[in-house]
Symmetry: C2
Subunit: 276 residues, 2 copies
């Protein structure tokens, strides 16, 4: 999906919600345990219940890898269940030397190789340009580069001062020479809302993927106050607050209620910003 | 495997060789294509041919993930074929917020969850302490943290100056407060041999995993001149130069020859350093 199509989806659905599919078997509604693949059933029902309210789905690969081969099967089948009109994010935080990143690109972008072809992948910047460029070789596929993350550990290196800028600022500036906003997004945690104004100066046109709203404590209004741009420019992720809205028979209905609540809040924000 | 056991293996085998198992189907000897899982057969024959000459195996997960579910199956079965007395490295370059890194730890350290339990995993430092600590909760399991990598992209961020130190130096210093040398190693590329003296001052007791000897152009002698410590302290990886030493029927014999050549060079170095 290209940038124009993504913005069209945002306008059509009046939403810039991304639903994080990070399922843990122990937290699933008990009635799903009778299924051959309870996590797949959980994901399918969540997707069916929310797909008109969100523009993106983001499975975090760790939650599938933790279950070995059967987890990877669940990830493939979950990908196959995604509707064609949603933007899909492999939240994999990969990154290696060039020839190895090329293999990761096959894993997540090349359906012939791996039976999956996500629209985008999250990538860690530490290894630099050649760890990122192999992903950019796929037309209309995206790298979502870690910039300023929502966790405590973000203070260890990301905000360290390099000359007159912080490391995450250097990451944004340097990487903007490798790709433009048609293929490059950044991850900025919602818990860092006070940094959004400044980040928008560095990356005025890029989409920003924002985790950390909801369970992690970030505020949607704060993020949007400075994060919106002329094509929305934000994908706001919520995972636990939606997928675990209930652990009963009504889990999908409650997930929809929470997704609807967020979509309606986003619609008001988009209207106020004259983007719909 | 703990540090004492690793050094014992090094002394017993007179080797600090790590064999990188990064197989690509197109490069395999043609006679293997008749097997149900050619890559698994390739790996098994390589392991059988080299296990007395090396102390570690390092499959890079990208090369397995690129083939989807069947690739992940190959990785599991390759892990199951490793002898008990070798140190195993999941070269996965993972790292995420704490609750997600805990899932990655299950994927690579918890055999009950994932059918694999490597001794160690490579981790990218960008997200800081809580991305690393879940791996350290497993006794006798190791984090191998990216410090200064062998690729061109290492110049983009790793060597940027933060105050009076470079980013990779900051990574070493900061992370040394999170774990000691019984659970923490660093990745330093062989192409950075001139930096080893300095790195040994920062991390005198830690093992260093050194990729980039062989196909990537690094020199073993240069690395050892400054990299050795009182417990050897080095695991030197070679992948392509060993696994693709021949692409004929004799591939395993030729792989053994190249591994033996490296082991013999290492034996001389260990003798000269009075470590065996």
């Amino acid at each position: 999906m290209n940038k124009k199509q993504l913005f069209e989806q945002i306008q059509k659905k009046k939403s810039f919600l991304c639903v994080g599919l990070d399922p843990v078997l122990d937290k699933l509604p008990k009635h799903l345990l009778k299924y051959n693949d309870p996590i797949l059933e959980f994901n399918k029902q969540l997707i069916d219940a929310t797909q008109d309210l969100c523009v993106a789905y983001k499975p975090n690969t760790a939650f599938y890898e933790s279950r070995g081969v059967k987890g990877w099967e669940t990830l493939v089948k979950t990908w196959q269940h995604f509707p064609k009109d949603v933007f899909t994010i492999a939240d994999a935080k990969r990154g290696d030397i060039g020839n190895t990143s090329a293999m990761y690109a096959e894993a997540f972008f090349n359906e012939e190789s791996s039976e999956m072809s996500f629209d985008s992948i999250t990538v860690a910047p530490y290894m630099g340009e050649d760890s990122i460029s192999p992903f950019l070789a796929y037309p209309n596929k995206w790298v979502i580069l870690l910039a300023l993350t929502s966790n405590n550990g973000s203070k260890d290196f990301q905000v360290q001062q390099i000359g007159d800028q912080k490391l995450y600022e250097k990451v944004i500036k340097t990487s903007s020479q490798w790709a433009n906003s048609d293929q490059l997004m950044y991850v900025v945690g919602a818990t860092k809302a006070h940094e959004f104004q400044h980040i928008r100066q560095l990356a005025p046109d890029n989409f920003i993927l924002v985790p950390g709203v909801g369970a992690q404590g970030g505020s949607l209004a704060d993020v949007c106050a400075y994060g919106l741009n002329t094509q929305c420019g934000l994908l706001v992720n919520a995972a636990r607050s939606i997928i675990y809205a209930s652990n009963g028979l009504d889990f999908a209905d409650k997930a929809r209620e929470e997704a609807l609540r967020m979509q309606q809040e986003m619609e008001q924000i988009l209207i106020a910003a004259k983007l719909v």
